[in-house]
């Protein structure tokens, strides 16, 4: 029997490769200088989902991502690797969301898809590193959760066995479906794109990505419904506006500072015998060492 799996994926700025031009002179983030990428741990999550799909025929893997229209790129990237389709959750009302409001929005989309056996996401996104969205989505859906998963070891009779990381060790746990899982970067890397799937899905677009003046291949989109990706707005899922975006976020950013080291008065020495001898004598004399 096939499973119904939702993979939560996020498009993130690549904070791992921050160059000197990443911050503007005003101290804001220069998004243009940072490429948008598929959040790395979400790719690990996708791989776990695709492995279940390989094992259990009839399984569907649906991507849910929240963001501006261009975030639909992560849905296409997922489809190139074997996902069946996805939904772009996009609405101005979702903007400015903290993790809780994000989780609420994602949970409404998952409910909209309905009867999901497994929700799998990366442990955390590299632009926030909070690891909060997975457990919060689980709570909003009233589902159990297994976080920090490294590998799904087995799935039999509705019981999932997974190996997970814990502080200073590993743990093997077993829990009944439905479940929310979050996957670590130590899990298996995602399979590469499949050339045939790239050919098939490269023209996939979310409705909002289609240019207003119309597409050159408009009739192709009528003939091939899979080329139009799912798109969900607040109204589509009857989301409670009070729980969305900025107004649904209990946490507020009071202030943001660029990290600037405070220069200390430092003693500058050379590597000469004299200087090092003096330093060690000083450190010993004031009981800093020894």
């Amino acid at each position: 029997m096939g499973l119904k799996i939702v993979v939560l994926a996020k498009q993130v700025p690549d904070t791992r490769n921050v160059g000197p031009d990443a911050m503007t002179a005003e101290g804001t983030i220069n998004r243009a200088a940072l490429p948008a990428i598929y959040n790395p741990e979400d790719l690990n999550a996708l791989e776990q989902a695709l492995r279940l799909k390989d094992k259990f025929p009839g399984t569907t893997v649906t991507i849910v991502t929240m963001g501006p229209p261009r975030a639909a790129e992560v849905i296409r990237e997922s489809m190139y690797r074997g996902a069946d389709g996805g939904f772009l959750l996009t609405d101005r009302a979702f903007a400015g969301a903290d993790t809780l409001a994000t989780s609420y929005a994602l949970s409404t989309a998952i409910r909209h898809i309905g009867d999901v056996d497994l929700v799998i996401g990366g442990r955390q996104a590299i632009d926030g590193d909070t690891a909060q969205v997975g457990p919060q989505v689980a709570e909003k859906l009233g589902l159990n959760q297994i976080t920090y998963v490294e590998e799904i070891l087995a799935l039999e009779d509705g019981l999932l066995t997974a190996k997970r990381h814990i502080d200073g060790g590993v743990e093997t746990v077993q829990a009944p479906l439905p479940l929310v899982l979050t996957v670590n970067s130590s899990a298996a890397p995602c399979r590469p794109r499949n050339a045939k799937l790239v050919m098939k899905y490269k023209r996939c677009l979310a409705p909002l990505e289609k240019p207003a003046e119309g597409l050159a291949y408009a009739e192709e989109y009528d003939k091939k419904p899979w080329l139009t990706l799912g798109q969900i707005s607040c109204a589509d899922v009857n989301a409670d506006l009070a729980q969305c975006g900025l107004s649904g976020s209990p946490t507020k950013v009071k202030s943001i500072e660029n990290i600037v080291f405070k220069a200390k008065e430092s003693k500058v020495l050379t590597g000469s015998d004299e200087d090092i001898k003096g330093l060690m004598a000083e450190l010993l004399a004031n009981h800093t060492i020894g």
Binding site: T99, D167, E171, V173, S255
Partner: protein
């Protein structure tokens, strides 16, 4: 007045160091606010064994939840404990470790209570906030200060309206200090069944392997850390040689680990261990923000670098312009006298 709460993490009957660090921080916050500090400990067979590890940090009230299914930790029972206890007690602040457990539990509890949670805070302060647009002033909020965006900015987060104000903090960021070995805190052994429905015990832990941390970096009074500038795995031996003489522990920056000079568990920085030794000797470390986040609280910082403009020099007390190969043997020589 609404208390400050700390969730105490347990390994068997051992209270995690990070929880004791948070108890000390919680005590200070509670003093500033003029309220009580309360702690929660949930596990199996812990009554009579954890009190002495918790109360001396200045805990006014300890809530013990002792039942067979509460260890090893699983998400649902521990979440139910905090959710139901907090609905009853209405704390204003809740702190927990930014550990695997804290990061599994915190978000779930915050979602259920619709309260804000800030992960991986590096500082916590009490302060006011003026919301000019709404024309409101909030007194005595918890400032939750954390690096964001890959460590390139520091954000101060507040939760003006929702309670509890929740924050997680990594191990080693705060400092554990026993306030009074005989601190007269009250102990309440709670009736677990009133907080946790039977249906919560649904996850089975079928195997569990925990190793004692192999590195003593965190508690070391002197840390010698090497970066990419050390140059090779062989040159790291110089760090070990000095460490042996002055009784220090050796750590590394991420660049040194990525270059294969040493093991992963030696990493100091935002994504590794946070240290606050008396003396920190940085060898060939340029001082990326992520690294500095894990050592900037050190007492005395000595930077040995061939680059006089290495960013770490700006926070160093002593800057030695020289190579690791040249300077370390001399330090050993003159230490021995």
């Amino acid at each position: 007045m609404n208390s400050v709460y700390v969730y105490c993490e347990l390994e068997g009957t051992q209270v995690a160091e990070v929880s004791q660090e948070l108890l000390s921080k919680g005590r200070k916050l509670a003093d500033t606010l003029g309220v009580k500090l309360e702690a929660v400990a949930a596990g199996s067979g812990i009554t009579g064994k954890v009190e002495a590890q918790i109360l001396p940090y200045g805990v006014d009230k300890l809530h013990i939840f002792d039942a067979p299914g509460l260890f090893p930790y699983t998400s649902l029972p521990h979440s139910s404990i905090l959710i139901n206890l907090f609905k009853q007690e209405q704390p204003q602040i809740c702190l927990m470790g930014a550990t695997v457990i804290g990061r599994d539990l915190g978000p779930r509890v915050s979602s259920a209570l619709h309260s804000g949670l800030t992960a991986d805070c590096t500082a916590l302060e009490i302060g006011s906030h003026e919301d000019k647009r709404a024309g409101k002033v909030y007194d005595q909020l918890l400032y939750q200060i954390r690096p964001a965006f890959g460590g390139n900015i520091v954000a101060t987060i507040i939760n003006p309206e929702n309670r509890p104000q929740m924050a997680t903090v990594r191990s080693g960021v705060m400092k554990a200090e026993v306030l009074d070995a005989n601190y007269p805190g009250e102990v309440i052994v709670e009736d677990v069944a009133k907080f946790v429905p039977e249906t919560d015990y649904v996850v089975k832990v079928i195997d569990r392997q925990v190793e004692k941390a192999s590195s003593n970096l965190k508690g070391a009074p002197i840390v010698i850390a090497g970066g990419y500038g050390v140059g090779s795995k062989e040159n790291f031996e110089l760090l070990y040689a000095l460490a042996k003489e002055i009784h220090a522990e050796v750590g590394a920056s991420r660049a040194a680990i990525d270059a294969g000079f040493c093991e992963h568990n030696m990493q100091i920085g935002q994504t590794g261990v946070t240290v606050r030794p008396k003396v920190y000797i940085a060898c060939g470390i340029s001082g990326a923000i992520q690294h500095v986040a894990g050592m900037k609280e050190s007492g005395i910082i000595i930077s040995i670098n061939t680059d006089p403009n290495a960013p770490i020099n700006q926070i160093a007390d002593y800057v030695i312009n020289g190579s690791v190969e040249e300077v370390l043997p001399k330090m050993i020589k003159y230490y021995k006298g």
